[in-house]
Amino acid sequence: MLKEKALLFGRSKSLVGILTEPPRGTPAGSRPGVLLLNAGVLHRVGPNGMYVAIARALAAQGFPVLRFDFSGIGDSDPRRDALSGDDAALEETRDAMDALAAAKGVSTFVLMGLCSGADNAFLIARIDERVVGAVMLDGFAYRTVGFTRRYWMQRLRSGRAWRRLLADPAALLGAVRKLTRSATEEATAEPGPQAMFVRAFPPKERAMADCAAMIERGVELCFVYSAGQYLFYNYREQFDDAFRGLDYKGRVHVEYFPEENHTYTRRSHLALLVAAIVAAETPTAAPAPAIPVAASGS
């Protein structure tokens, strides 16, 4: 039976996390520790309980997993100092690594998260050398000519899009303008106002250089995209096309879910995501059956 434990950690012991322990008998340090980083302002259970499901599935495979709240999110108190944004995320993730190291004797880590959690996972993996793997769910994406072609083909086939265009002259004019741009211009254009949320991705050259540096360091990178990321990513090979020239050295793994929305709302979709993450993190292991969860004291 898996055990879960509540942890209070960080300098002022005000960060809250849940440690899911691997099955009894798993040798300490046989797998890296896994940290799940908040998706936006959602607390550590993740959208639709995604982080709980991932934590328990990975723990069943021998990974100690910590899902926690950054300061000001969920159950963690806001910071009392002026540190904010990326700097606070880095410091608190390092605090989480220290807490997991102290609790389970691990010295290396895999960071993962959805959306802003993916952005933080990548950023921190680049900086902290204890990180040996990062899983980005709907993280940065860069448009390609192939993206643009599929995007417009899909729009042309969509009855919803036609109805909207015919009902709104301004939208129709905007569409005509876009169609008259070249595919390359369109591939590099900023997302339109229809974007459901604003995402600021790093410049592609920097993202590529960071990937190359991490691959060189031996970090395993896993990029998972859902169809819900349709404004930025819409076909399986888009990552390869966008990062042509990047030598993966067998350390880059890309998954694409063409039927799934951004938060994997349907249970069967969430199960597919969890299975893909487990498979990516345990490439040589046979799938293990689900293990029920118990908890030990605080």
Binding site: A6, L8, D75, E259, H262, T265, R267, V293, A294, S296
Partner: protein, 266 residues
């Protein structure tokens, strides 16, 4: 604030204990019963804020997650209404053990309110019960959440291409066949044997079933009040499915809860 697990080792529940932050320390504790599913996510900050406000008013407070929800063990697909009602009782006993209080008030939101009132049956240690926008008619609630689930997915990308097969959950919450049957048969207005000495129905919107519940509460041997608050939650609005409540929006309701619980504890 102490996050911890409690209850049986077979079904541990996650909770957060908030010790009193002011004197006089009240002799009645408060257990908060959160909503479930997407409403749990919407209300998480609100529930935390309510716990903090009550602790600052001198109460021992425990908030917790039901089996299969949040950080608690288990899969919601296996839960029944009875198992969640039992969880409320387990939390109530835990707060008494932890804090030494002999009486507890229950404050529930949406289905949490329903579970709170049902958990008070046959108990003699429940002082007050606050029912904040309670689920009165389980079948209406179920069909409303089903409609929201489909409306949410229809507005997402990619849009669904066909009917759902099997249990795809409701906005992320697994709902097993037994829970569906329990909810379909649920009518809070027909509850008998409520143990609370006082019940406050706190509503942010008017629903036809609230009239029936008011009448039912008025006929019970307890003190009942109805508090209509200006803190709209828009539970059935498909446009607000993922809108988290900011505690400041809910201040009028939080203040009513604190006043009611404090009146019962003094």
């Amino acid at each position: 604030m102490t996050p911890f697990y409690f209850g049986s080792s077979k079904r541990p529940l996650f909770g957060v204990y908030h010790p009193p932050q002011a004197r006089p320390v009240r002799e009645t504790g408060v257990v908060l019963c959160a909503p479930v599913g997407h409403e749990y996510v919407r209300a998480h900050r609100l529930v935390r804020s309510l716990a903090g406000t009550l602790a600052k008013s001198g109460f021992h407070v425990l908030r917790f997650d039901y089996s299969g929800c949040g950080d608690s063990s288990g899969d919601a697909a296996d839960a029944t209404l009875a198992s969640w009602i039992e969880d409320v009782g387990t939390a109530l006993d835990e707060l008494k053990d932890t804090s030494g209080v002999s009486k507890v008030s229950l404050v529930g939101i949406r289905l949490g309110a329903t579970l709170a009132l049902l958990a008070s049956r046959r108990r003699k240690d429940v002082e007050g019960c606050v029912l904040w926008d309670p689920v009165v008619d389980g079948a209406t609630y179920l069909s409303s959440v089903e409609a929201l689930h489909h409306a949410f997915l229809a507005a997402e990308y990619p849009p669904p291409t066909g009917e759902e097969e099997g249990d795809e959950g409701l906005l992320g919450l697994a709902v097993g066949a037994r829970m569906r049957a329990d909810l379909a048969a649920l009518d809070l207005a027909s509850t008998a044997g409520v143990g609370a000495r006082a019940v406050a129905l706190l509503t942010s919107e008017e629903r036809p079933e609230y009239g029936r519940l008011r009448d039912a509460l008025a006929a019970m041997p307890l003190r009942s009040t109805h508090l209509a608050v200006d803190a709209r939650a828009d539970w059935d609005d498909a446009g607000r499915i993922i809108a988290t409540f900011l505690p400041q929006q809910m201040q009028p309701a939080i203040q009513e809860v604190v006043s009611f619980v404090t009146a019962g504890a003094s």
